[in-house]
Amino acid sequence: MDDELIVRESLLSWFGKYGHEVDTAASGPEALEKLEAKSFDLLFVDIKMPGMDGLDLLERVKEAYPDTLVVIITAFGSIESAVRAMRSGASDYLLKPFKPDQLALVMERILCQQKITSDYHYVKGCLEQITRFDNIIGQSAPMKRLYAFIPEVAQNDSTVLITGETGTGKELVAKAIHAKSPRAQLPFIAINCGALPDTLMESELFGHRKGAFTGAGHSRKGFLEVVSGGTLFLDEVGDTSAKMQVDLLRVLEDKTIFSVGSNTPVAVDFRLISATRKDLDACIQAGQFREDFFYRINVIRVCLPPLRERKDDIPLLLEHFMEKFSHETTKHVDRVRPDAISLLMSYDWPGNVRELENAVERAVVLSKSRTLAATDFSFLRPTPLCCGQTLKSIQKAHILKVLEEQDWQITRSAKILGINRATLHKIIKRDNLKRRT
């Protein structure tokens, strides 16, 4: 902003040589109009301008656009104006004409400051994601119920069993429960039971004493001891062996452990959250999972809906992942064509949110423009109908889906299904349909 055309042209040309997008204004009101229309990272403002003083403009800018940096330039410098400028939030105060290296230094310092601010916001965002459950995305009815349920569950110490298909975010929910619980400041340790062989799992959980087995060169505390007051998350608990189920059951009942190779009991204090993609009721029926252990870990049940049952959340999730991967890949991809949205909404997402996340990452990485189109998701294949399903199971799933979508409003759901309310009530009772938490 400068009332002298020659200065505006000169600055325009100089910043143009850096490849920056530059605009000029001859007065304060014109500058404010341009600021209203688009955002600017940095303003160079002359003090003496007709209509509005540069220092007044600085105050207005700092009030309305605090992130915009302002450098005051003047041919008539004074201590008073310099002090007022710096107190009003100016990033620098330069006397015209500048020395070339002076302006270069100011630019370098400001760009550095901007990078630090941007990094700070990014790190702060990451930290918030770790400590809060804002990273669970969704505004659909099942997710709203989940948001209300998590703080309730978090406040007591009962064991929690999270069920849901793969990729539905079971670990995120476990972390959210931990983050909202009185144990939030203590460790959260996650173990994937399906990934560890039995002997290793025993050593990892209970620890071992030196010489307890070949290769145990030194004593090591197990996760049950290390977690000390925090939360232990057992992912894929349905994959634990019968022996491990017995060992864990004993720990849950006695709250003491014995390290491998030790006879001394160690008191432990932790909250257990388990998760599984399996139908544990069926596993119990099949004799693959201990019933007593099941009741121990299943005091509170949280069922996570698959993505196909909360498709309303797809646009929100898409926006979140686009922002995430645009930042990670430093590619500016921030728009989606309607055809891409339609494709994503029509897809069944057997891998749930994780599959959507991977699909968006791939699309962002390979995209040649800032807009994602259906062609960017051409690698997605529509899920074929499963011929192994019975008509009854399809009917049950459909009725449940409609009920969930309608927030279990019986009249509305019955109308959509084309049956009367009494029939719907009968089906709910007969098929034991239950509202997901």
């Binding site: 000169s10 100089w14 230094l105």
Partner: protein, 175 residues
Amino acid sequence: MIGVVPLGEVPALVPNVIAANITACYKRPVDILPVRPVPEDAFDQARLSYNAGHIINRLDTVAFGGYAKIVGVMALDMFIPIFNHVYGQAVQGGCLALISLFRLNKNANGSMPLPALFYERSAKVALHELGHLFNLFHCNEKRCIMHFSGAIDDLDRIPFHLCRDCERRLGQHVQ
């Protein structure tokens, strides 16, 4: 074809050094054109220096037939409205650039440089301004001739060549 035009009196060897370096860096033929006078109306009585933009506008009225880019060289000090002095000035993506030798013959501590260093500085400023004529922007890479040098020490630190990114951009511009 690129033309180097001495404006007023300049050390005889400078245009030759500049021409040789342009050929080495940009792989283009260079001619040294006849000396032209410095437009005296470009002198600013208040700032006691020559207005670089004014001189470039004057050069724009001269027909340099067959030369796509012209680099003017003068021994006098020059400025642009926002800076109290400049080593060089060019029209981004244009045809005309101008360099001043006035401040290249003095080190940061006030001493005189050896002649070889003075010639090096002249060549670097010319290569930098010519880069702007090829629509290259200021580069963040410190080991690139397109890195902005606000002070004489900065100029001594930059190399005589373009970085890989600027080389690529130059290739795209030429295509």
